[in-house]
């Protein structure tokens, strides 16, 4: 499955990755090889095989609905570059 540099640019945008122009060709080539590997896997006959959503043959454990966390805002906001009045501040994003 050939991938174009535009496809790679779109995926990079969605993942918020920046790919330098000069490496674009190389990344596109490697991207294509990964997809070729997947295409090969897809040729395996999986008729009648239930899709596996998780490799562990187990069920989700549930927790009781109880508040067990207290407010640790000061500590949790320490690594943030910018906070004010309890808010995390980020570059302006608006619709």
């Amino acid at each position: 499955m050939p991938v174009t540099t535009e496809d790679v640019a779109q995926v990079a945008l969605l993942a918020r990755l920046s790919i330098p122009e000069e490496t674009m060709e190389d990344v596109t080539g490697r991207f294509t090889r990964v997809l070729e590997l997947v295409a090969e896997l897809q040729q395996v006959d999986t008729d009648g095989v239930v899709p596996m959503s998780n490799p562990h043959d187990m069920e989700q454990r549930l927790r009781a609905d109880a508040v067990t966390e207290e407010n640790r805002r000061d500590e949790l906001q320490k690594p943030a570059p910018s906070v004010e009045d309890g808010y995390f501040l980020v570059p302006r994003v608006i619709d």
């Binding site: 969605l14 508040v67 805002r73 009045d85 619709d95």
Partner: protein, 482 residues
């Protein structure tokens, strides 16, 4: 050309759990920014989600409440997109195998008929945080208290044709979830948010036009207005030969129009894949049965019972069962005074008007069921006229005691003593001899007007306490016999 509007709705319902869906942080509205966001909610490295059993139970309760098929093995998936109020860069949702599968929800319309809406699915997911754009110049503030709030997203088939149907569905849904107790359904606080998928097609056509999605409409009235605005916009474009662009739009209530949210379009590829941090939810038949056994009486069943047991009209019954508190109030009052129709009339008339005026729910009504029952009892036994009843109601509202105490304290007892009434009639007639003469000379249509005048004078003289039926009888007899 005439057009038909085709709509499907997606409702995001916040579940009323004590803690978040995947963490033990508190799930309460209105706390200080980020004071209820723990390391899991913030998406700190190494944090793992653990599913809240109550959120699962609530989802199953909803599914059983609309007779939907319950997914006995459902799976969480990652929905990937980039936005600052989504710290992990993905929302944990259910895409491939939801917990609630297809069902049919019977929506009561105002004429008493039922309108079936096909539910496609309802799935569990986590809410995102909130972005604040107008508080910090040039920056966006992020509050992650809401991140991880359990949501049930309820998706319908494109079964709606009118705004009225859409609003009726939302009201019925609101009623159902408050009966189930799984959400407070508060639209103003975002507990119930509605996305509208809307397209037009020429009337009679059975293919679908290109649709737009109006996001996050947060009141019944705005749903109605957003549908009208978007229908008008699409119709104008189509009639000018312009094709509709499939996109996400926002309803702007101030301008009463929808506008495009362009930034959402770039990211419209969510690259779902199974969430490796969570295992499948497996539900046994025993578990599902135990949830079913514990369901309360739901609005549809209660409505049927009210009609049969209390001989109420479809309309009155639908209004009374619309909230569990209303229905409980009604039944409590009826056990104290067996006059269901009169109780219903007072509740849907004066009581509802007073509650709306003060903007308080029936659960906080200063007039309690026993007060209203006491009032209706005194009207039924003839102690009060309906006009005096209104005075007593006002006094009950002001907290002046029980109906009997108010009647006693204010001397509001209706006068039904014939002797006393005859004297009142005679007094008023002798004070208004000109009108008496006019009456006797007049034809029957003029006489009716003059009767009104006399009744008014007599009621005034009796301070509203004369029994109006008796007054009419005594007055007519006195006027007609010279």
């Amino acid at each position: 050309m005439s057009w038909e509007t085709v709509m499907g709705l997606e409702v995001h319902l916040q579940l009323a759990t004590a803690s978040k869906i995947f963490s033990g942080a508190a799930n309460k509205f209105g706390a200080d920014p980020n004071s209820q966001a723990c390391a899991v909610d913030l998406g700190m490295p190494g944090m793992l989600p653990v599913l809240n059993e109550q959120a699962v139970r609530y989802a199953v309760m909803f599914g059983l409440g609309i007779d939907a098929r319950i997914g006995k093995r459902s799976i969480f998936d990652r929905k990937n997109y980039f936005y600052p109020d989504l710290p992990k860069g993905y929302q944990v949702s259910q895409f491939f195998e939801p917990i609630v599968c297809e069902g049919v929800f019977q929506v009561p319309l105002s004429d008493g008929s039922l309108f079936p809406i096909r539910i496609t699915r309802a799935h569990l997911e986590e809410d995102a945080g909130k972005s604040v754009h107008d508080r910090f110049p040039g920056q966006t503030g992020v509050d992650l208290n809401r991140a991880g709030t359990p949501l049930l997203e309820i998706v319908t088939e494109p079964d709606f044709r009118t705004a009225e149907q859409a609003v009726a569905y939302l009201k019925a849904l609101h009623s159902l979830v408050t009966y189930l107790g799984i959400s407070d359904g508060n639209m103003a606080e975002g507990s119930m948010r509605c996305d509208i998928n809307l397209s037009l097609r020429p009337t009679g056509s059975d293919s679908y036009g290109t649709r737009t999605e109006i996001k996050n409409v947060n009141s019944f009235r705005f749903v109605e207005k957003a549908i009208a605005a978007e229908t008008a916009r699409q119709q104008e474009l189509l009639e000018d030969g312009v094709s509709i662009v499939q996109e996400t739009r926002l309803y702007d209530a101030d301008r009463d129009e929808t506008r495009s949210m362009r930034s959402k379009e770039v990211a419209n590829d969510y690259r779902y894949f199974p969430e490796p941090d969570l295992l499948p939810i497996v539900l046994t038949d025993d578990y599902i049965d135990s949830v079913r056994q514990a369901l309360p009486e739901l609005p549809a069943a209660k409505r049927e019972r009210f009609i049969a047991q209390y001989q109420l009209s479809d309309y009155d019954a639908a209004l009374l069962v619309s909230s569990p508190d209303m229905a409980a109030y009604f039944e409590k009052a009826v056990t104290l005074c067996d006059e269901p129709k009169a109780i219903a009339n007072w509740m849907l008339g004066d009581l509802s008007a007073a509650l709306n005026k003060e903007g308080i729910p029936v659960s906080q009504s200063p007039v309690e069921p026993q007060n209203l029952a006491g009032l209706v009892a005194r009207i039924t036994d003839g102690t009060l006229s309906s006009k005096l009843g209104k005075q007593v109601f006002e006094a009950l509202w002001q907290g002046e005691g029980s109906a009997d105490q108010i009647i006693e304290a204010r001397g509001l007892r209706q006068v039904s003593d014939t002797g006393a009434l005859e004297k009142l009639v005679a007094d008023v007639m002798s004070e208004n001899q000109d009108q008496v003469a006019q009456y006797r000379a007049a034809d029957s249509s003029k006489q009716k007007k003059l009767i009104g005048f006399f009744v008014g004078q007599i009621m005034k003289a009796s301070k509203g306490q004369a029994n109006p039926q008796l007054i009419n009888k005594i007055l007519t007899e006195a006027l007609d016999s010279d």
